[in-house]
């Protein structure tokens, strides 16, 4: 019936943009990705391919980003998930949605909390491990102290959201243009 093609409505996504995205998706693995989605093919691209896209290549969190949007959690994205990822990271996405996905991205051990290890990993990725262990310890402690509202020594989604909703640069930095 071709419902899959009529699903890109203007109210949700710009169809022209979606065609662009499809082009990019296809580029990643021309032999795997079909041009025609009429039969709803079930093809997923592995993490390694997606992470090499120029928009993601320099990002220290690229692995986590792709994993957060994949259904199986291992980073294999179908086209729908691919579109989802860039849609959330575009500048039109609302703040709350971005906050939800940002939380997922920074949650390395996927336990729905940002615990100290998650923060340490984030910090080390951000500074390329240039800080001394004492400094890392200090920063993580201060972060938890600042944002943790319920006193469980880790950040739940509510804590994270409360903190990120006041951040002035969040929307402008959590943004990928494609």
């Amino acid at each position: 019936m071709g419902n899959k093609q009529t699903i890109f409505t203007d109210e949700q996504l710009d169809a022209y943009q979606v065609r662009l995205l499809h082009g990019r998706y296809h580029e990643l693995a021309p032999h795997l990705v079909p041009m025609d989605y009429t039969n709803d093919p079930d093809c997923k691209l592995p993490l390694a391919l997606i992470v090499n896209m120029p928009e993601l290549k320099e990002n220290p969190f690229r692995n986590r980003i792709v994993e957060a949007f994949s259904e199986d959690g291992a980073g294999n994205l179908s086209f729908n998930e691919f579109v989802d990822m860039f849609s959330v990271l575009s500048e039109m996405a609302p703040r709350e949605l971005k906050a939800i996905y940002a939380f997922k991205i920074y949650d390395f051990n996927v336990d729905n909390y940002l615990c100290k290890e998650d923060l340490e990993k984030t910090l080390n990725k951000l500074t390329k491990e240039e800080l001394t262990p004492e400094e890392v310890e200090l920063v993580c402690e201060k972060t938890i102290e600042e944002a943790d509202l319920d006193g469980d020594n880790k950040l739940s989604f509510t804590d994270f959201e409360n903190m990120i909703s006041r951040a002035p640069d969040f929307l402008s930095t959590f943004h990928i243009r494609i």
């Binding site: 109210e11 220290p60 939800i100 729905n112 930095t173």
Partner: protein, 844 residues
């Protein structure tokens, strides 16, 4: 048919819409007026839902047929609608529309979003006809498109504006390697460059160009010609470098300008323009500095929210747009530096030390500094007196050093004293930012002393020149008389005087002399800075790098090592340089142009030197708040530099033989003259009334009162602001405490529940199978959990989700894997996994 529609839909959104709506319209036409239902409404909805759920699997054209069948079955006539049902329908429509609008913001997977969207859209379109809102869709789509286009245009314009800012990438690079304090110097430099460009535009466009184009050309009148005596050496490089010779008799200096009231075919009022440009540069500078100060004060007030400093740094500092490896490297360096800065701030606030020792050391340091300043002040005074003696003797009898003694001594003092102050400041042990401010203050005092000594020297010279004037005036009348007598003796009908302008005896021109002094000072200052840079930084770096291999101790770590960028010295140099410009711009219109050139070269030279020869400071600190400090100093300097210029304009009569004001009693007489001749009569009358002291004094008094009132209101607002901030902070802390208490309570409750449950489980151990037991335990515990942990639950489950998660799934999942992989916010399975978290917390 459907496939066709699908493909066209993909290529053109509008086209697809047309197709889509056309399709719907067709349907509506088919069904005619029976698109609306009443009692069958809910039934229909369910039918629609079912139809769509099944069609989300591999599409077939049967789905649409089903829909058609559906519609044909339920034929309803709109006449049979009652008002309440109409209302209900409207509500349902609004609900659906809202769902469509908010669909973007829901964190569902794409598939689900799309399915819901399709379903809602079909519902809306089906029933839109009945409510007569069919056209709204097109308008809405048009509006959406226009909004998108407008956003894109705005974004492009912002990008263009940002791209226009010069040296942005350079400064970013420096910032990422050296921190924000070093970068603040370069940002300040760039800002100064902007101001000087405007000043240059004013002086060049309104003073130099008109005179050059429309005024009398070189050599036509005496003041525009090199005197015969100097002609031989007028082109020498040494003379030109000193701004004598041809350089002196050009638009660059005050003396060249003619006092003709209007020049050229445009009737350009040259003297008026000269005067107004002078006043305008000062006024513009004041305005810009004060406006920047006000803006900085605003920003520092708002952006001072320190409550989430580290969290924000951690989660919002990486810019996801970066795709270039070099930029990424810079960003990593910048983030690391920023963290180090924040850590330093944190540690400084935790330090506590021995108060008495520190206080004593600080008093000692200040005493030493005062001694230094007094010493340098006396030295300059001594040197200036000596140079005055030399001038009286005649300059040719002395060596080069003795001739330029004042300049050299001032420059040397300016170079060595700041280093001395730096060493002394190690005694004081302040926070680096505070230490920087003290250093700046001290160097400021030093430079101020230099400046005012220089001005005193200048005033002496001006007075000498003015005395000379009277003598020259007398000589000129004698010379003219002799000429006249001479010709009269030869011929009774005297031909007009044809004396070459170069031969006419000239009056002294103290304004040009002042202008020249300033220009020479700026040049020597610039040269000194660049040479210090090359020797002190570059040569030192080269030596350290290459001699290190064959030297006894480690040069890089030990004595000379690489130099650090001296922020305070450079900033002060910049500020004082600008002060010179403001002082001298009235007498030498070329000064802003010179300064623009100098700043341009400085920017590139210093950027290169910083990246090449300097190392980042060991203790990197944030420059926030320093900005207003620089501005405050700039304002003080502006005030202090315009004072002498204003004094000379108001009190000293202009030279009789040079400049646009020659012949007037005072320079500001030109305003009076313009008012009388160029404006209508009633204007000057009004002005004369307005400038009556009886009116001016009360006006000044009123303004003073207004200023006082505004200041006190501002103070009270600031205090209220601080109070509010404190309140918010206290509220936050209370909330935290409350939440902590609630969490503890929930833990205790959970413990009790677990105990009770495990007791019950033990009792039932013999009766029930293990499976159900644990299910019961989990059930009971999760219920209590939901009650207890209200504040820290994830966002409430979204309605549409539940149909996708049949009940048994979470139970089997949570047993195996702790961190469930396919997690979605609001999913009930999370509460199960959370249950496993709590006990571990207790063990902490």
């Amino acid at each position: 048919m459907e496939q066709e529609k699908g493909e066209t839909g993909e290529t053109n959104e509008k086209g697809k819409k047309k197709h889509g709506s056309a399709k719907k319209e067709e349907k509506e036409e088919d069904e005619g007026k029976h698109t609306v239902k009443e009692e069958a409404q809910e039934v229909k909805k369910k039918k629609h839902k079912k139809v769509i759920v099944t069609s989300s699997e591999p599409e077939t054209s049967e789905a649409d047929d089903h829909e058609d069948d559906d519609n044909e079955e339920t034929e309803v006539r709109p006449e049979s609608l009652s008002p309440e049902e109409l209302e209900k329908l409207k509500e349902a429509m609004d609900e659906r529309k809202k769902l469509i609008q908010s669909l973007r913001g829901k964190p569902w997977p794409m598939k689900q979003k799309l399915d819901t969207l399709r379903e809602s859209q079909e519902f809306v379109e089906k029933h839109e006809g009945a409510l007569g809102k069919g056209r709204g869709r097109k308008l809405y789509a048009y509006k959406v498109m226009m909004t998108k286009k407008w956003m894109k245009f705005q974004r492009d314009f912002e990008n263009f504006k940002t791209a226009c800012i010069p040296w942005e990438m350079k400064i970013k690079e420096i910032e990422s390697h050296f921190g924000s304090s070093v970068a603040s110097y370069f940002i300040f430099l760039r800002w100064m460059y902007g101001i000087n460009m405007i000043l240059f535009g004013l002086t060049f466009g309104l003073v130099m160009v008109p005179e050059a184009l429309m005024g009398k050309s070189y050599g036509s009148i005496p003041r525009k010609t090199v005197p015969r005596a100097e002609e031989a050496s007028a082109m020498d490089f040494a003379v030109l470098w000193d701004f004598g010779g041809y350089a002196q008799y050009s638009v660059l200096f005050y003396g060249y300008y003619n006092n003709q009231r209007a020049i050229g075919w445009l009737k350009f009022r040259m003297p008026l323009s000269y005067f107004l440009v002078g006043v305008g540069t000062v006024a513009y500078s004041y305005m810009v500095v004060i406006r920047t100060m006000a803006r900085n004060a605003n920003e520092s007030g708002i952006g001072d929210d320190n409550s989430f400093n580290f969290s924000w740094k951690m989660f919002t500092s990486w810019d996801y747009l970066i795709g270039n490896p070099e930029t990424a490297d810079n960003k990593f360096a910048s983030i690391t530096t920023s963290f180090k800065e924040a850590i330093l701030e944190e540690q400084e606030s935790l330090k506590d030390d021995n108060i008495h020792l520190t206080r004593f050391l600080r008093v000692l340091a200040n005493f030493l500094v005062l001694c230094c300043l007094a010493g340098s002040g006396y030295l300059i005074y001594f040197v200036v007196r000596r140079s005055q003696k030399f001038t009286l003797d005649g300059l040719e009898n002395h060596t080069w050093w003795e001739r330029n003694e004042v300049n050299m001594v001032m420059s040397l003092l300016g170079m060595f004293c700041p280093m001395l102050f730096d060493v002394i400041s190690t005694l004081e042990n302040y926070h680096p930012r505070v230490a920087l401010q003290w250093q700046l203050g001290r160097i400021f005092a030093l430079f101020l002393g230099n400046l005012y000594t220089f001005i005193i020297a200048l005033m002496d010279e001006i007075n000498i020149k003015r005395e000379e004037e009277n003598i020259v005036k007398f000589n000129i009348t004698m010379w003219e008389a002799s000429l006249y007598n001479g010709t009269l003796m030869e011929n009774s009908t005297a031909p007009p005087f044809t004396i070459h302008p170069a031969d006419v005896p000239r009056g002294p021109c103290w304004e040009t002399m002042v202008g020249q002094e300033f220009v020479r000072l700026i040049i020597s200052d610039t040269m000194m800075t660049y040479i210090t840079l090359l020797i002190g930084d570059f040569l030192r770096a080269v030596l350290v790098r290459f001699l290190n291999n064959c030297w006894c101790w480690d040069l890089e770590a030990g004595f000379p090592s690489y130099s650090e960028f001296d922020v305070s010295g450079n900033v002060l140099g910049l500020i004082f340089n600008q002060g010179m410009i403001w002082m001298g711009a009235f007498y030498a219109p070329c000064l802003p142009a010179l300064n623009v050139l100098r700043l341009h070269v400085s920017m590139y030279l210093q950027c290169w030197a910083v990246m090449c020869c300097n190392v980042p400071q060991e203790r990197v600190f944030k420059a926030s708040g320093s900005n207003n400090f620089y501005m405050a100093m700039l304002l003080v300097i502006l005030f202090l530099s315009t004072l002498p210029a204003i004094y000379t304009i108001v009190t000293i009569p202009p030279s009789f033989d040079c400049g646009p004001f020659s012949g007037k009693k005072r320079m500001f007489d030109v305003i009076h003259e313009t008012l009388e001749s160029d404006f209508p009569v009633w204007f000057s009358k009004v002005f004369s009334y307005a400038s009556n002291p009886g009116l001016v004094l009360p006006f000044i008094l009123l303004m003073a009162l207004a200023i006082y009132y505004l200041q006190s209101t501002a103070k009270s607002y600031k205090e209220a602001n601080v109070e509010l901030k404190k309140k918010v902070q206290m509220q936050n802390e209370e909330n935290k405490k409350k939440n902590k208490r609630a969490a503890l309570k929930a833990q205790l409750d959970l413990e009790e529940a677990r105990k009770a449950a495990s007791q019950a489980a033990e009792q039932q151990k013999n009766n029930a199978s293990p499976h159900d037991q644990e299910a019961n335990v989990d059930n009971g515990v999760s219920q209590i959990l939901h009650h207890g942990k209200n504040g820290s639950n994830p966002p409430p489950p979204v309605r549409g989700q539940e149909c996708y998660l049949p009940a048994p799934v979470p139970r089997t999942n949570h047993r195996g894997i702790h961190g469930a992989t396919g997690y979605r916010p609001g999913c009930p399975q999370q509460s199960e996994t959370r249950m496993y978290r709590v006990p571990s917390l207790q063990r902490h």
